[in-house]
Symmetry: C2
Subunit: 343 residues, 2 copies
């Protein structure tokens, strides 16, 4: 309840909305008792924590010094079975490290991954993983991401099996470095054995074309692609505002064009897709963007709720088990501080 | 003259404009005699080639089978000293491979890199390299890119020494994989010895904020970032068009907002920044976007002209020599087919 740039004011407002929209849902609110004192709702339980992980705390501090942080207590609720899923808008690196430490990874998963959705030109969203949990990935890790991503999309969207693209620098099979080429082979094998709907290589622009449902990449590349795309979007929006403010005529034009521009903004609104999944853990954990407003944070709650209701964990587990023959043990666990913030 | 999606029609129109704007310039036009038959201009020399590298030719075919291609003959003009620089809108992988084979790399450079400019929110452009020539880079390669990029920016823009950012997944020094951390150390050393103006780590969005003049990354990451940003830009432009076409009112709004939108488009027009530099070779080679129109192709010619006039090659050479103590021999040359198209 304390994470993110806006703190409980925003997250509590989102919780109230969420409870109104989901009459069957029950929320555990974990946080400093002071900030939850005025909260009251029959379908909530307040769970006290004595401290808070700061946005700039190192993973080390979050993991080893703050043993009663709201983040840790929240994930503990998932571990104990008191909660079906945890949602946080806090420090991504700390969240991943604590989740991993407390919940452990699923059998067959070397490394958890962070999966998020990005709006695409089809009016839908493309799920991209990893977004920064793993800065160096083997081909086997990329296959694990593909399998987990397919399970995630299967609980979030109905319909035909989600298609998976491998992020590369060209569509041809011979493109990319050795890891990518080998990952391509593994993904083709997985497609042949019915574990995946593999589309082939995709390029950076295909994320936004909506050519595939899922784009798989290592966390370094995914993080750069996500932030670069946010950067372009901000530049365009900032440029529009500047141009429309230029003089009295452009201001008039702005008033007339406003409904059109706001329809566009709505369609491309990243807030609609807020709520990244930490996949590969023995429990459901979702990460909201740090700058989320109440609408965006509610989306993250919705995502966690859908994942829990639709047994995302079992789906990931069974898909990973099915693909197990392809998933040779890849390597040791990376250091927990390898995680990168995605906000 | 044959490369790109539009062929000689566009490139020849651009050449005519370029010659008008630069009364001192002389052009060598390399191509199939048939397509250059109707051309005439006193400050040009037509050089015949008997074949053309196709956009989908493999590097192998371009390099080994088409020994009299217009691309190869053009680069041969640079090697022989007949031309100061070559410009092509053709197949990027082939261009890099042929340029590298004929011209060789400069002393102290393991791998050439492709540098391009992307528009930023400051109204200027950020130079990014590498864009796809190298899919796996060592820390030393990244330092070489930084030094070469600084030389390039010094010939294209006046003023204070260009600042260099290292593309990473967070601003903190501890972020990133081992290669990136080591590259950060090398870049800091280079800054201390006066070889570079190193800003520190930057993230994907900083390319478009214009936080630094130059962003350094490996070719895989750079290629994905470039294409992802092009994807977002296309999605936004496509979305705007759709929204404005929705009904009679939005069409009216479009007419009124048109001057504002076109001012924005002009500011963010990628064409203004067309002309990627192939850096690190013993000769100047520039790559135009394959889909370039005449305006964009003329920009690529301008860039090559500025680079030649301002002795880019000598600047790169002397900067690399100065930074030599930091540039340990890194590794063997990569296979020529590691190059990726950037269009």
């Amino acid at each position: 309840m304390h994470g993110g740039d806006h703190g409980p004011r925003v997250t509590l407002a989102a919780c109230r909305q969420f409870l109104e929209h989901h009459p069957d849902a029950h929320l555990l609110l974990v946080g400093l008792p002071d900030s939850l004192r005025e909260w009251s709702h029959e379908r909530t339980t307040v769970v006290a924590a004595s401290e808070v992980v700061a946005m700039d705390d190192s993973v080390e501090v979050a993991l080893r010094k703050k043993k009663d942080s709201s983040m840790r207590v929240a994930i503990q609720q998932v571990k104990s079975g008191a909660a079906s899923a945890a949602v946080s808008a806090g420090n991504t690196g700390a969240l991943m490290a604590i989740a991993r430490y407390l919940l452990k990874t699923l059998d067959g998963i070397d490394r958890p991954a962070i999966a998020t959705q990005m709006p695409n030109a089809q009016g839908g969203a493309t799920t991209v993983l990893d977004l920064g949990a793993n800065v160096d990935c083997s081909a086997e890790h990329l296959l694990q991401f593909a399998v987990m991503g397919s399970a995630l999309v299967s609980v979030l969207q109905e319909g035909s099996p989600a298609s998976v693209g491998l992020l590369n620098i060209g569509e041809e099979v011979i493109k990319g470095n050795e890891v990518i080429k080998k990952a391509g082979e593994l993904l083709r094998s997985a497609a042949n054995s019915g574990d995946l709907n593999f589309y082939g290589n995709v390029e950076g622009n295909d994320i936004f074309k909506g050519a595939v449902d899922i784009v798989v990449c290592d966390g370094f590349v995914g993080n750069v692609a996500l932030k670069a795309s946010e950067g372009v979007a901000s530049m365009v929006v900032g440029g529009l505002k500047q141009e429309f403010k230029r003089n009295i005529f452009t201001k008039l034009a702005a008033i007339i064009a406003y409904p059109v521009l706001s329809a566009l903004m709505k369609r491309m609104d990243y807030r609609r897709y807020n709520g990244a999944a930490l996949l590969g853990l023995r429990g459901l954990v979702f990460k909201s963007h740090g700058s989320a407003d109440a609408l965006a944070f509610e989306q993250a709650l919705n995502r966690a709720y859908d994942a829990a209701r639709n047994n995302l964990l079992d789906r990931v587990r069974s898909r990973i088990a099915h693909a197990a023959p392809l998933l040779m043990p890849a390597d040791a666990q990376p250091a927990p501080d390898a995680a990168a913030p995605i906000h």
